[in-house]
Symmetry: C2
Subunit: 348 residues, 2 copies
């Protein structure tokens, strides 16, 4: 049985979205149970509307809620040990939950997760891994904004962790992993990226298939299962793709409403448009995963609705069910065992 | 009268695309004349098919053509002083042309342009500025891949140069300029970007309106006229947007061909779909500009067709007609005059 802890106060709409989202997720995974943290007076009336969910949940009152615009340092000072966000994460640390899900502010969630759960052995910094819809299905892209910059070793760690997540999420044995780079000949890529490519090749990892460099247009194409990049570029790429999708949707809407014939055509093809809308629905791929911590924390979009929040819970459910943390730990251990033995083969 | 020098051998299709492209551009700008460089035996038969164009052109035979996969250093060694690419750039230096256009390999074009034209005073490195279609029209994004990384001062130079280009291209008096950054609170952005923001504010430039930071999704939204970033992120963002557009076009095609009703709807709304296709046509925004050199060089996509190459010529035409180089030089001069006087106000 998977136990999920929820920060009911996170996101633009707090319990109004989180609780209905949990109810939807429970329909899909009836075996799940919830540990919930939030302000009693706001949450109880909403929870009362979902008797099945209430039956599968333990509710804890927390006075403090982290604000969406609070600075991480401020959120930590004000909300550590007592906010609904902190308590949700702490439940994972205390083994009362297998995964925490919050739609709260990313920086605060990152800071609190790091402070509470700490990074795994040999991991310097966690990464935020997003799920990217592609022409072939889905890929994992990391880091989409946990930290800015990454050296070659950190990029290698991202490759190992992203590979473990792909095995957990897509159930592929040896996921294909690529490093995001630019194709322009003169520049031939960032030094860190080139160095990371060398390190990954030399490491001869059994858990991933190293593809080599990929470019921005390989993201949507689904060239590889896992795309590795540092957090600044990853965040810009993610938001650029989201923005482009919205832009095209806007073009499409305005084209389809311009003439009578176009409107008629739209009506006839409505089912196809609905399918397209579903394909492009950002809520379907909601739920980014903090990788590299001693526990699983899922970040949902702050502005999502119940459907979107349920998708984030789905991701958390899959990660917990497939033992993501254990997979990452094993893969990292294997890499470091090989790495140290290859560094001193005579000692073996 | 604007004179345009053409590297006939550049791009995946060389003169097969460049010459018909020039013919199209000439129809739109009948006052233009061309200086052409390429292999006689390949180019002459094609040029013969366009008598009006031939009349407005001077053709020079060049034995050497830079290959699309040649490394810049190799291209420089083999093609300096004698390749069609070099000769097209050199015509700008010798004031025989106002602008050079090539669909040849970006790295080689960059290296040769830099070597031949040199950077303007006070400019350390040139930037490649692309034109980005937005919901409001078009924006300029730089650097989309000339060099990797940029310090705060270089980002400020990009802002000044991009502003000058926006004034030349969009005929806006004080274009709105933003710095590309990430919105995640914890990270609060790259150090160089934050520092560049401070520098630009302090500089109090008359030639641009500084907006502040923008994020990836502001690109398609058209929040600002000019988006400034370093070449790695800019290149990834550009290719991610192109890839996302192709991905959605593919979804749309497959949705519209799935059922009979959808196909019928598509037929009725065909005009609207054509309009959408035109909106999304990457050929319409072909033509990136190297900024910061003593002369204008336009880079066309290597894989474009005649229509796309004509669009790149259009960009070159606009840049030359509006005196881009002069505008940039003036703006840089103004900035540096202010900057040195503000550094030592007592000396004034």
């Amino acid at each position: 049985m998977i136990r999920i802890s929820l920060d009911l106060m996170g996101g633009d709409f707090g319990p109004e979205v989180v609780i209905p989202g949990a109810a939807k997720a429970l329909e899909r995974h009836p075996g799940v149970s919830f540990v919930m943290f939030g302000q009693q007076e706001k949450c109880a009336p909403i929870l009362a509307r979902y008797p099945t969910l209430r039956e599968r949940s333990v509710f804890h009152h927390c006075e403090i809620a982290v604000a969406m615009d609070e600075k991480p340092s401020q959120a930590l000072r004000r909300g550590r040990y007592k906010s609904s966000m902190w308590k949700a994460i702490e439940a994972v640390k205390a083994k009362e939950a297998d995964v925490a899900v919050s739609a709260g502010n990313t920086g605060a969630l990152m800071a609190m997760s790091l402070f509470c759960l700490r990074t795994m052995a040999n991991i310097e910094r966690p990464a935020l891994a997003g799920i990217w819809p592609t022409l072939k299905g889905e890929s994992i892209v990391l880091d989409v904004g946990a930290t800015i910059g990454a050296d070659a070793q950190q990029l290698l760690d991202f490759a190992v962790m992203g590979g473990a997540m792909a095995r957990a999420l897509f159930e592929i044995e040896r996921p294909m992993v690529g490093l995001l780079n630019v194709g322009v000949e003169e520049v031939k890529g960032q030094e860190e990226v080139k160095e990371a490519g060398r390190l990954i090749r030399e490491a001869g990892l059994d858990t991933i298939n190293y593809y080599g460099f990929v470019e921005g247009d390989d993201l949507g194409r689904g060239t590889v299962d896992v795309v590795v990049t540092e957090g600044f570029t990853g965040n810009v790429a993610l938001k650029t793709a989201e923005g482009t999708a919205r832009q095209i949707a806007q073009y499409l809407r305005s084209a389809m409403s311009r003439t009578l014939l176009a409107r008629l055509g739209y009506l006839l093809a409505k089912e196809a448009f609905d399918r397209l809308r579903e394909k492009m629905d950002p809520r379907k791929v909601n739920g980014a995963v903090f990788l590299g911590l001693n526990g699983i924390v899922i970040k949902s979009h702050g502005g999502t609705d119940a459907e979107g929040f349920a998708a984030a819970i789905d991701v958390g459910y899959d990660m917990a069910r497939n033992g993501l943390t254990q997979k990452i730990e094993n893969d990292l251990k294997e890499y470091h065992a090989r790495h140290s033995s290859s560094a001193g083969p005579e000692a073996a």
